[in-house]
């Protein structure tokens, strides 16, 4: 067993708090990319609380694992994760997205502790992650690069250019996730631009690929531990998720790609998440 029932229970509780805090920050900010922040939250939680080799008191530790949020619009969720992990005081997020704040909608690695790579424009995270993986190999260092892509983001050709390069260079130190929430701004991915057969595309591009339920901690643990042990090339974990996961009125509604939250909507969201 890769993960114990007790660990799963603890991680679920952390994720629940992360989701509630993400609701709060979205409320303070007047709006944020809440749907995708909630869909990827279980993956971020298990990575940051169980698998990433990091030291929040030393964010620039050279030996740390790197995490690249290629779907940079999920920054509101990532910011909460980093705060709750101890990189900075969560209270600072009350200024999220205000003029002059270090915390913009898309997190800037030069301004926010714990953010390894500045992202925001779609299709850049995977090429940069390949560069990180090659850099680590060049230097003979054994840290890993984890990258989180959005599924809609995979419409970008640069993702597939990078997919080809990662397989060509057999980057066994690169682990990818796609937050496969099946939704993008203009609607379901399969109506906007068909991605399926999605996992097979990654396989065809030379990635060792696993398709899992991205909210199931046992499946996540199994896939991540497999990926960590697989050194022959890059691994892609296609994690099926629910956009807006945990909030009844947001789930699977593409309208909640981005949104602001009234006091009533915040109350309802928190109630759905088991608080208040």
């Amino acid at each position: 067993m890769a993960i114990t029932d007790q660990e799963i229970a603890e991680l679920k509780e952390v994720a629940r708090k992360n989701r509630i805090d993400t609701i709060d920050v979205t409320g303070w900010a007047g709006g944020a990319h809440i749907g995708g922040a909630l869909s990827m939250m279980d993956i971020l939680t298990i990575l940051y609380w169980k698998y990433l080799k990091i030291d929040p008191s030393n964010p620039d530790w050279p030996e740390r694992d790197r995490f690249v949020l290629s779907k940079g619009h999920g920054g509101v969720g990532h910011a909460v994760v980093l705060a709750n992990k101890g990189y900075y005081d969560p209270a600072i997020l009350r200024d999220f997205n205000k003029t002059g704040s270090a915390f913009g909608m898309h997190l800037d690695g030069n301004k926010v502790a714990g953010v390894d790579v500045s992202t925001g424009s779609m299709g850049h995270g995977l090429p940069m992650s390949v560069g990180l993986a090659l850099g680590a190999r060049c230097k003979g260092e054994d840290w890993l690069t984890y990258v989180m892509l959005g599924d809609g983001e995979c419409d970008e050709g640069s993702c597939w250019e990078a997919a080809m390069a990662a397989a060509h260079y057999k980057t066994g130190n690169l682990i990818g996730f796609v937050d496969r929430n099946h939704m993008m701004i203009d609607g379901p991915t399969e109506s906007v631009m068909s991605l399926e057969p999605f996992a097979d595309k990654w396989r065809a591009f030379g990635w060792e690929t696993r398709e899992i339920d991205g909210h199931d901690y046992t499946q996540l643990a199994t896939a991540i531990e497999f990926a960590q042990g697989y050194t022959d090339g890059p691994v892609m974990i296609v994690a099926n998720t629910v956009k807006g996961k945990g909030v009844s009125y947001m789930e699977n509604d593409p309208a909640w790609h981005y949104g602001g939250l009234s006091a009533e909507l915040i109350r309802q969201a928190k109630s759905d998440l088991g608080e208040g």
Partner: protein
Amino acid sequence: MGMQNQRRVYGETLEELGSRDERIVVLEADLRNSTMTALFQRAFPERHFEVGIAEANMAGIAAGLALTGKIPFVNSFATFAAGRAYDQIRQAICIGNLNVNIVGSSAGLSDFGDGATHQAVEDIAIMRAIPNMTVLAPADGNEVREMVGAMAAHDGPVYMRLNRNDVPDALPAENTFRMGTPVVIRDGKDLVVFAHGIMVSRAVQAANILAKEGVSVRVVNVSTLKPLDEAALLDLAQGFQGVLVTEEHSIVGGLTALAAYVLRGQGLPLESVAISDVFGQSAHSHEELLEHYGLTAARMVETARAMLRRGA
């Protein structure tokens, strides 16, 4: 006066730099024998990354390598390096202010045989417009050698354009490139010429012709297009009757636009010998294109005479 090929000087300098500094890594998009990174590739295959015909991915990978402390040099023809990878350069490299060097080979009209698709008449404009970016245009082979070292030493993104063909040495032996500083390479007192790239040696030719007519011309090599010491440029134009800007680049967004901005409000006549807002085209030689688009010493002489007549 000797001739050198900027691409060759670049390739040799990069290889030499690679032997001194293991942080230097090179990325290539299927043009290694043209960009001359093949020299580096032969010497340091483990630090040379061929990405295939995928310039955007090349720029993104370079950003990642820079984040690990490497000093990447990204290579392609100027039009692809600056155009095809624009969003990666903006988003992945410049917003993070990452230490990535981008080398646009076969810039300007110098890839005469391939026509408009392969001729970069707007690369400087595109790169200058991005915050954090440094933009360089060497006048000759010697300046390429100095620039490559300066690029590696500079912390932050840099774009350098290179000519494809052999170009005459334009700078005196004692010239020392300093990033951001325009350098007087021939002094005079009537007319000042601001130039970069291949047009520097042509400006000197024009100055020699005008000298015989009693017109004294100062020629300034403005090989750093950004960040530029604007006060220095202003000083270099003080007391002159007019300013002539010349570049193998569009009048949009290059040195012409830059000089007009810096010299605004000075009341100085300003003219430009550059590419008007048009694409290039195929030709049998670079010289043929330079003639066609008026990028010649003769055109500079005519323009200078007209400007001085108007001013008199």
